[in-house]
Symmetry: C2
Subunit: 367 residues, 2 copies
C-alpha cells in the first residue's frame, strides 16, 4: 500500500518503550472547540455528527492542531459513541449538551436484541482514517480509538451522560447476567471497529475507558477490565503497512487498579492527573512486561499563564523521571498528554507553551 514513510516516529517508539531524544506529546481532544478554526469547520458542517461523518471535514479538523503545534501524533476526529449509534440507538448532540441516545437500552428485550453492527455502517470512520493517513503524509502517526465496552454501556443504558450512573449500575447490580451480555456484544463490536480502523491505516489504537473509574473495586475488574481484555485479545497486531500497532488503554479514575492493568495485553497505559507517575512507573513501567505510560497533566493547568504551565510541565516530567536512553533495549518511557480531554475554554497560545515546554524540558532531562 502506498503509505508515505513516517518522518516522526517518536510517539510510536515511546509506545514500544524504545529510547527517544524527547518525550513525545499529544493531547486528548486536541482537535476541538478551543480552536477557532475547528469552530469554523463545525459551523460549515452544521452539527457534530455532520462533521464526524464527512471525510473531508474530519480530515481537516484532525490536522488543524498539527498546523499550530509540533505535536508528535494525530488522533482520528470522531466520537466514542459511533459504535452504539451503528447498533441503532440513535445518537445526537444537542447544542450546549452532551451526547444523547434516542433509544437507550434498559431491559432484557432491548439487550437481547443487541448485536455487533455491520461495520459498513461505520464506513465513514474508516474512510476518514484512510483520508487522514494520506493527508498526514507520514508527518506523525495516526491514532485510532474507541470507547471501552463498559463506557459505551454507561451511555447506552443511561441514554446520556450521568452524574451518578444510577441506571447502568442498577442493571449491573440487579441483573449482572444482562450486563455481561451487553458488555460481550460491546467488546466484540469494539474489536471489529478497531480492527477496521487498523486496516484503514491507524498506526496505534486507544481504548477510552472514560467511566471505568466510577465502578467499585471488584466491579471494575469484572465489568470493565475483563471486557477491555476481550477487545485486546481480538485485535490484529499489524497495521495496513505491515508495521505493528501499539495499543493504549486509558481508564479515567483507574489509578487504584494499575497493578490489575499490568496484565493487559497492551503496550501503553494512559493515566489521569491523580496518579503519581513515579509510583506508576515503579508499579507497571519497569521490567519485562512493563508498560509505557501516557499522561497526565491536569487540563486546567492550561488556564494558568505560560510561566506556571512550564512549572507544572516540569513537575510532571520530573515525577516520571528520566526515561531510559539505551537504544539497544527497551525500558521505561513516557508519552506526555493531558490527564483528560482539553477544555473548550483553553487559550490556544497556552497549548503552544505546553508543547514547547515538554519538548525542551524533556530533551534537557535526558542530557
Amino acid at each position: 500500500m502506498p503509505f508515505a514513510p513516517l518522518k516522526n516516529d517518536t510517539f510510536l517508539r515511546a509506545c514500544w518503550r524504545q529510547a527517544t531524544d524527547h518525550t513525545p506529546v499529544w493531547l486528548m481532544r486536541q482537535a476541538g472547540r478551543y480552536l477557532p478554526e475547528y469552530v469554523a469547520t463545525r459551523a460549515k458542517a452544521g452539527s457534530f455528527m455532520g462533521l464526524a461523518t464527512n471525510v473531508d471535514y474530519a480530515t481537516e479538523v484532525t490536522l488543524q492542531p498539527l498546523a499550530r503545534y509540533p505535536l508528535d501524533a494525530a488522533i482520528l476526529f470522531s466520537d466514542i459513541l459511533t459504535v452504539p449509534d451503528a447498533m441503532g440507538l440513535g445518537l445526537s448532540f444537542e447544542a450546549g449538551e452532551g451526547p444523547r441516545f434516542a433509544r437507550p437500552v434498559r431491559d432484557e428485550a432491548a439487550i437481547s436484541a443487541l448485536a455487533v453492527p455491520d461495520m459498513e455502517r461505520l464506513r465513514y470512520v474508516f474512510d476518514a482514517v484512510a483520508s487522514i493517513r494520506k493527508a498526514l503524509a507520514g508527518r506523525v502517526p495516526l491514532i485510532g480509538f474507541s470507547g471501552s465496552p463498559w463506557t459505551l454501556a454507561c451511555y447506552m443504558v443511561e441514554g446520556a451522560g450521568s452524574s451518578d450512573y444510577r441506571l447502568v449500575k442498577t442493571l449491573m447490580y440487579s441483573r449482572p447476567d444482562l450486563m455481561h451480555r451487553l458488555l460481550g456484544v460491546n467488546a466484540d463490536a469494539v474489536a471489529a471497529y478497531l480492527n477496521a480502523q487498523i486496516a484503514a491505516g491507524a498506526q496505534a489504537v486507544m481504548v477510552f475507558d472514560s467511566w471505568g473509574g466510577v465502578l467499585a473495586d471488584g466491579a471494575f475488574q469484572e465489568f470493565s477490565l475483563a471486557y477491555t481484555a476481550r477487545v485486546l485479545a481480538q485485535l490484529r497486531r499489524d497495521g495496513a503497512d505491515g508495521q505493528p500497532v501499539p495499543r493504549i488503554v486509558f481508564t479515567k479514575g483507574g489509578g487504584l487498579w494499575l497493578q490489575d492493568m499490568r496484565a493487559l495485553d497492551c503496550e501503553v497505559l494512559g493515566l489521569d492527573w491523580t496518579v503519581n507517575l513515579a509510583r506508576a512507573r515503579a508499579l507497571v513501567g519497569e521490567g519485562d512486561g512493563g508498560k509505557a505510560l501516557q499522561g497526565n497533566i491536569d487540563p486546567n493547568v492550561l488556564f494558568a499563564p505560560p510561566a506556571q504551565i512550564e512549572t507544572e510541565v516540569a513537575k510532571v516530567l520530573q515525577s516520571f523521571g528520566k526515561p531510559h536512553t539505551d537504544t539497544q533495549t527497551d525500558g521505561p518511557t513516557h508519552i506526555f498528554n493531558l490527564g483528560h480531554g482539553i477544555s473548550q475554554y483553553t487559550p490556544p497560545e497556552h497549548v503552544a507553551a505546553l508543547v514547547a515546554a515538554v519538548h525542551a524540558q524533556s530533551r534537557a532531562l535526558r542530557a
Copy 2:
C-alpha cells in the same frame, strides 16, 4: 452536664479501634430525601435552609432514619456550606438544583476580604447539635461535621457545583498565593466550627473532603491535605461530657493518597467504593498509628433487590476481613457505610435490608 449515658457505643469503640461484637453501620446522608417523612418535614420548612436553620426540624429529620433502622450513629442534619454562608457568600438551594452562592469569591479583593466568621452566625447549627444530642437520649452517638477547606473553596470560587472545577483550579494554578490565603481562612473557620459543635455535644466529628479527589497528585497534598491537617491540629480533644472525640476524614476519590493520610492526626479514614478494603487495611489499618476504616459500599447497590444487597454487603465485609476481637488492645476495625451519600431515589426498605445484613453478617464473621 446532664448528658444521658450512651447505650450503644459500638460506633465510638470502632472509631477508637476497639473490639466490637458487630460492625457498626451508619449512612452518609441517612437523613434525606429518600425518606417520605423527610420530604414531609422539608415541605413544612419551606426550603432546605429553612429546614437546616430550624432547631426542631433539624432534630426531627436527624432522628427519622433511627426510627426506621437500627443504625449505630446519628449525624447532624446540616449542609457543608454553612461556613461560607456565614462568611457572607449568600447560600441558596434552587429547587431541583444544587447549592449556589450569590457572591462567589474569585479575585484578590474578594479573597483578601475573607475572614473567619463570627460563630454566632452559626448558632443555629450548635443549637441543633445540643437539641439532637438531648433527643437522642444516649441511644447512639452524634456525629458533627464540616466540609474540608478545599471542598469549601471549590464551592466558594465556582459559586456552585462544577463538572470541571475550572475556575477554582485556574485560581490555584495561576495564583497559588491567593489560594493558600483562602484555604488558611477556611481551615481556621472549619476548626472553630467543629470545636463549637463539639462544645455543643457532638461525640465525633467528620471532615468531608468531597472534592479532594479532583486534584492532581501533588496539588492534593498541597491544597487539600495540608489544610485538613491544619483543621485537625486545632480541634479540641474532649467533648462536652469529657469523653474524647474521634475525628473522621473522608476524601472522595482519595484512595490513591491513603499512605499520605496515615500521617493525619485523626482516628478514622472514610473510603469510597473504588478502594479495596483489604489493601487499605494493609496500608493504613494495621499497627501503631493505624486508622479505623469507614465505608465503602456503592450507594447504587441499594437499587438492587435485597438478595443482591446481601451479597454485596458480604463482599465489602469480607474485603475488610475479620476485625480484631481482642478486648485488651486496639487493632483493625471497620465502620460500615456507603462510599458516598445515599441517593434520593433509594427505596427505604432496601436500607433496612442493608443494615440488617451488616449486623447479622458481621456478627457471623467474628464467630
